[in-house]
Every structure is written in C-alpha cells, then in structure tokens.
C-alpha cells in the first residue's frame, strides 16, 4: 500500500486506503495511521474508506483492529466504509462488524453520524 489520502470533514477524519492490506504493509500502515490520528486529535471519528482496497487478510484486519483499540482508549470511533464484495467477505469471516461499525459506503457512514446527532442533540 502506498501513502493514503485523507481529509478532515467536521468531526470525521476520512482516510482513503488503497491496494493490498497484508503483512507486507501492515506495520507501515499502522505507523502512518497512528501519526495521522495523533496529529488530528480533534477528530471524533476516523473512517477508513476501503473502496480501493483490493485485498485484505488477517494481518490487514489485525492492523485495523489495533487502531480501533488505540483510538477507542481515547473515545474516538473507528469505522470502515465502502469495502467491495471481496474485502467484505473477509471482514465477515472475521466478524469485524461485531467489533466496529462497518458501512456500505462513505455516504452511509456520514449520514449515520448525522442521524446520531439528530436524535441525540447534545
């Protein structure tokens, strides 16, 4: 995986992952994501876009889950959005949606957050 694009949109830090997420890049991706989230501590939610992720295995999911635990410890939600059929199959096999929010698309992830705000106007 090469360097990823990202954008801060209100409370959401949106990270656009791409390529194959396996052992060959898991450590590098973990470090890059940790640096990015450390530099954007105002974000309340980090959304990992996976539209352009072509392959993920347990090393890639382990990397994502490690970021989830790290962010959860400071009250930040990590979500996955837009994974294609292939990546979704692997997420399902590993039960990832039971560990963190998984949305079909970035749009769904963003509207889910708006829904939360609408119903819990705090």
């Amino acid at each position: 995986m090469s360097l990823f694009d990202w954008v801060l949109r209100g409370p959401d830090l949106i990270v656009d992952l791409q390529g194959e997420l396996d052992l060959s890049c898991a450590e590098r991706a973990a470090q890059a994501l940790d640096s990015l989230t450390d530099a954007n501590r105002g974000a309340r939610r980090v959304i990992l876009r996976m539209d352009r992720v072509t392959f993920i295995d347990s090393s890639g999911i382990g990397m994502v889950f490690g970021r989830h635990r790290r962010l959860a410890s400071r009250g930040v939600t990590l979500a996955i959005a837009g994974a294609g059929a292939r990546v979704t199959r692997t997420l399902d096999l590993l039960g990832v949606s039971q560990l963190m929010p998984v949305y079909a698309s970035l749009e769904r992830a963003l509207s889910a957050q708006e829904g939360v705000r609408k119903w819990n106007p705090r």
Partner: protein, 141 residues
Amino acid sequence: MEPKVNWARVEFQSSALNLGFARVAAASWAAGLGFTLEELDDIKLAVSEAVSNCIVHAYPQCPGRVLMLLSASDHALTVSVQDEGIGIEDVTAARRPGVSGSSQRMGMGFTLMEALSKSMEVTSMPGHGTTVVMSFTPGEG
C-alpha cells in the same frame, strides 16, 4: 481411465515481499480448474494466511525457505505450504482462534484457512518445520 494429475512447485524466501506473489501464483495456477473468481479469491486469502504464518511464526529471526506445492487431480486442488522453521509444539492449541494473538493478526490465520478450504491438515515437528495442506473443490464455496 486414469485420473489426470498435474502439479507445480514454487519455492521462495519467507519474506512479506513474496506474499503477493505466492497468492497470485496459486490463484493463477488454479484458474484452469473450474473455480469461480470468488473461489479463486478464497484460495488467495487462504494462501496468504498460510504464508504469513511461515513469515511470522516459522522464521521469527531471519527468513527461510517456503515451499508451496500445488496439485490438481480431477478438478480438486491441493495446496501444501511447507517451511523448515521452528515448528509448532502443540498444533491443536495453535489452531484455536486467538492463540497466537501476539502477531497482531488476531490469531485467526488457521481459523480462516479452515473456513476457506474444504479440508485442512497441519503437521509439525518442533525444530524441523510445519506443513499445512489445504484442499479446494470448485462449486462448493
């Protein structure tokens, strides 16, 4: 009529740089056996897990040899991934989910391989290496 048997051997260093190659090599070799694209993706994932185990667990200090043996008989595919690494003391325990969680892979490698293949066998001799044999049949995924 005798069953048609074909095979291929691929040998490579246990480096994460070879992981993508191993996946694609297995899937492209299996492509002629009647698997759907989804089934070929499952084979790729299973191979990725098996080879990742070699890289992380079998050769924790420095890279060693991985031998991937592909064989086909009557449209069934067998993938064997062998290493000459440190081996596994307790294979039954290692196959349980979450046992090798230290690797940051959730300890789910064997669980995934089992879910993706028709059958999986693990044999290991501590100090001598480990062999994982998985079989896949088209149209059963």
